[in-house]
Amino acid sequence: MIVAVASGKGGTGKTTVSTSLALVAAEKGKVCFLDCDVEEPNAHIILKPRLSGQEAVRVRVPVIEQERCTLCGRCADVCAFHALVVLPQEVMVFSPMCHGCGGCWHLCPAGAIHPGWREIGQMEEGECGKIRFVHGRLKVGEAMSPPLIRAVKQRAQAGALNIVDAPPGTSCPVVAAVEGADFCLLVTEPTPFGLHDLELAWEMVSQLGIPCGVVVNRSDGRDEPVEEFCRTRNLPLLMRLPLDRDVARGYARGIPPIAVHPAWKGHFRELLHAISERAGLKCAKS
């Protein structure tokens, strides 16, 4: 089973929730943690894995054999991302623009283009206790993260609870992280910003047809707008974590809330139970 943790707004507590969920689940079964927030992975700060493997993640880019090229311009015409330019004497490649679709090398009438590689980041993996841990690190300045996110997700283990920590937002990287999950947790905070972005995230997950539920983090007891939102969308509110100074203090030192308040483990056990009951049920589109 794959459970994705997303939020829309950044800083609502995705990693807090996903790491605690992993730690609690690992007490009973096999868990694989996949940190797909590859632009700023940080779950390792809480889970402290022992990393044993590293692998470069690469994408396909065109390589032009200039001596075979007839400068016909077919490659630049088919490139939807303007990664190729036909000059009077050669073809120029702007690799960072390339999405690796392969149109140019498949359609070049002169057979003058072959696929090469471009590294976009690194994948690292290891163990933290009983949890299998994988994360991606996108190169600084690199714009294209989905291929790295998909590479991390390929490490999901059959028969394990795979927890995907998604990046914030609702665009391609988040879609790449959440796609294919059996369930998606949407973590929000009781602020107008949290609610606004929760709605965006919910719309995105609904379009993907993934069943989802809401977690309110840093609840101050005034969660009515979130409750109202969940009620009208028929969206289950699965867990509420109270605003707690000790938890914040622990988090600031990389300590998960369930280590600060062992009693909170009960919340996460209930959350796990609720997820496994709902995963696989189709999400009702509005």
Binding site: H82, A83, V86, L87, P96, H99, A143, M144
Partner: protein, 120 residues
Amino acid sequence: MKVAICAQGTHLDAPMDLRFGRCPYFVVADPQTGEWEHVPNPGPGAAGGAGIQAAQLMIKLKVDAVITGRLGPNAMEVLKKAGIKVYEGTVGTVRQNLEAYRQNRLPLLTQPNAPGGHKP
């Protein structure tokens, strides 16, 4: 001799557009004969690589020079390799900038003067 001027409209009296990749039109003129035509720029609709696409258009149109306000690094690299000169125009009409070019009053641009645009 052909010069492409970034334009907000389709004729000589349209205001010049300071953007290269995302200006809606190019007015392509012959400074000697005064003949001109307008060409729509495919760039404004592009998600990314607008400057590269516009530079490719310049090559296809076989222009000798471009008059623009700002140019990013990718477009500059393409135009340089294609041997197309870039001149920095100023706020005003296409006609005024063409006239300034004719009188050699526009500075030649050899380095990009804008950051790279929207990345994919």
